[in-house]
Symmetry: C2
């Protein structure tokens, strides 16, 4: 690890940002948390931290979104149409790349976490995987051949509209789609449906059936992209209710029904695994983004 380049990784979150100076998880030289306030104030605080670091070979930035990851677009490297007050149209990557004059990698926070788990976490050693987070929102990051699967924009597969359980006609909580996966299984959806936070909801509460089903339908779709050799699952809902993962695995197995006859998928206990890096997944993923920007692949 000692000969790996030193990268400044920044994860921008809705409530706080994390900046780390690191080569990898075993060589984090600095780690600073910064509250997310206005864009200008937040970015100046981040710059104040990075200004003090020496030997930075590249930058990696993983941000809440939506973000523009389209290198053909004029707003590449920006947060685009977020409802977060003041943040729509904020330049992140061009500003920081210009300030430090080093290569800068940029992507969504979900892809950041996916890259972190792919390099050093629950899918270490695999070039093809998916990371699914179920928390305040539902996000999917697909990694193929070691890089983000994208094109026009980043994945928003958490907003697909799944098959429902028979007799379940709850309308869901997504302001755009109602009963999409995020509208059925996110933390706010669970709270809206039951009046109780997920972490406080008994494991035998019937609302979990719909949550498990919606997440399993998302994993069914993610599996059928063909990309992942493993699906890493994290986020507050999963971490807060540990009984969910075994149920999700069984629901996924029933839903796929043996259609893809590959051992990697059929062994569902190793195909769907919990995230390992916790709150460091995003910042470490930013390190990977910086490394990829440095090497050009």
């Amino acid at each position: 690890m000692s000969d790996a380049p030193l990268i400044a990784g920044v994860e921008l979150g809705g409530t706080k940002c994390v900046a780390i100076l690191a080569q990898g998880p075993d060589s984090i030289q600095e780690r600073v948390e910064i509250p997310t306030v206005s864009p200008e104030e937040t970015l100046r605080a981040i710059e104040g931290v990075i200004d003090g670091w020496r030997g930075v070979a590249a930058l990696g930035i993983a941000s809440f979104g939506p973000v523009s990851i389209d290198r053909h677009a004029a707003d590449y490297g920006f947060i685009t149409s977020t409802p977060k007050p003041g943040w729509a149209g904020t330049d992140l990557a061009k500003r920081l790349a210009a300030r430090y004059g080093v290569p800068a990698g940029f992507h969504s926070d979900v892809i950041g976490a996916a890259l972190g788990e792919a390099r050093w976490g629950a899918a270490a050693g695999l070039a093809d995987l998916a990371y699914v987070t179920v928390g305040t929102g539902v996000g999917v990051g697909l990694i193929g051949r070691g890089r983000a699967v994208d094109g026009l924009t980043h994945s928003e597969l958490g907003h697909i509209r799944p098959q429902r359980l028979p007799g379940d006609d709850w309308l869901g909580s997504c302001p755009f789609h109602g009963a999409c996966v995020e509208g059925l299984a996110s933390g706010p959806a669970i709270a809206a449906r039951t009046g109780i936070k997920g972490a406080d909801l008994a494991s035998d509460h019937p609302a979990w059936d719909g949550v498990v089903h919606a997440i399993a339908q998302l994993l069914h779709a993610v599996t059928l992209t063909g990309v992942p050799r493993r699906i890493v699952v994290g986020g507050g809902v999963i971490v807060g209710s540990q009984f969910l993962l075994p149920r999700i695995r069984q629901a996924l197995r029933r839903s796929l029904n043996g259609y893809v006859a590959l051992s990697e998928i059929e062994d569902v206990d190793t195909f769907v695994v919990p995230a390992m890096l916790g709150h460091n997944a995003g910042p470490l993923g930013a390190i990977v983004l910086g490394q990829q920007a440095l090497t050009g692949h």
Copy 2:
């Protein structure tokens, strides 16, 4: 075009195979159709054709599946678990590559058609697109940065289980999943539901509502992968009932509900377009696979 390498492209279909010797659509030097019978007889006939061709720089093979596109797997280049009698476990790519001693590209027929449409058809000039075919089956090919999006295997997104129209509880025709998109919208599904072939079904038949909805839900998911800048739609159901595409576009627009605020997607008439290359999409896609094998990217 005259300085482009000469490629032998082979599309293996369930009823017939097409072998072409070409640089591209305007320079097809040979085109031979071969009935698909037993694997050995069919492959010998294909070899008999290619044996007579001179100057072949590379091979491209696009096949009905499922196929193994995982270069780490022992069965890379094989048709794997197909129900087609005699064809499971058939080596295609290794056999042909060894016989001719040239680089060989290999992928599913759907990715073949997608690459053909991406290079010379309805998405010419775009590196990021999806090709969706609705016919005997429902297939999705995703192309990102000019190459197949894959990993463990090729996409089978036609088998996601979509949200249903209110009150529609028809069980669907897929032997694995019942009411997945293929089980709701493929040609056999339409015939199973109505007793009438899709091409003969009146445009105001109520069964079309469920078909349009299922296809739109698939396009919703394909859009939310983030990959495509355009979705090219083809296959017998689409070609046979031209009134479908406008309905699918409107259903997709309603379903996404403005969630991805990008002009490429919001202009649904240019986002979802009909395939252009028809029966040559697959063989021409095989030419692209051969070109990619030759150049290594």
